[in-house]
Point group: C2
DNA sequence: GTTTTTGCAAACTTTTTGCATGCGG
DNA sequence: CCGCATGCAAAAAGTTTGCAAAAAC
């Protein structure tokens, strides 16, 4: 559960994130729920999403447009994305990253905690 | 040259970026130039930096704080960064990325154009 | 002298916060 | 009924834009 109470807002946010199953902005959540006829407030979305991030139910990515996109972690292993430069489609992609991190660990004197790895290009439809 | 005219603002921005030689925010440029006694306007920084981006003299990265950091490309090969979670220190790091991109190309039906790869951790001083 | 560049204020976008009201358990 | 959640308006912070004034050539 997200917080301490079951509310319509929370139910709708989770339902939508489950259905869409890719990283979406707060506004996408907002307008998509709005289109179903349900009423929801942007502030509530931010508050609930941030709560979910704290509880590790959701994680987010930030790309070049500086907008945060949220994704339900449910049943998802750690993964990265591949994003179409034209239509914005975002697919998941998995990689052997322990290899990468080990390489970087050996090259630098940093203690590596995490990384971002995102690819950009043209999806099959846009090529 | 940046635009069509030589101005003090442009000269100072480039001088600072050359000296600092790592990705910095518009505000860092602003206050650092200010500290030298030179006067400069934030808007001018944004306008000049964006011009430089268009001309491929500068590129930028966006991390979790959603703030754009600019870096002079001059003499720099394509590279990535390793960022200290504690003090914010940003070092360069190079990798064999053609390997990575080829792997991704084979895994997906996307035509890959670019990627982001940034590491986070603790620098030697902060460990 | 003309065109580019600047400075300033204001707009804009995304996200957060304060505060009063509402709803869940 | 008590406290968590919501809605609304306003605040923040970073960035962009419009317009008149200044500077470059």
């Amino acid at each position: 559960m997200i917080g301490q109470r079951n509310t319509k807002a929370r139910e709708n946010i989770i339902k939508y994130l489950k259905k869409i199953n890719r990283p979406v902005t707060a506004h996408e959540i907002y307008s998509s729920i709005g289109k179903t006829g349900e009423k929801i407030n942007l502030t509530s979305i931010y508050r609930n999403i941030n709560l979910m991030k704290k509880k590790n139910l959701v994680h987010s990515i930030i790309l070049n447009d500086k907008v945060e996109r949220f994704e339900l972690l449910e049943n998802k292993p750690h993964h990265h994305h591949i994003i179409c430069n034209q239509c914005g489609r975002i697919d998941d992609i998995e990689m052997k990253e322990n290899e990468i991190e080990t390489k970087v660990k050996n090259k630098t004197c940093f203690k590596i905690k995490s990384h971002i790895l995102e690819f950009f290009g043209l999806c099959p439809n846009c090529q």
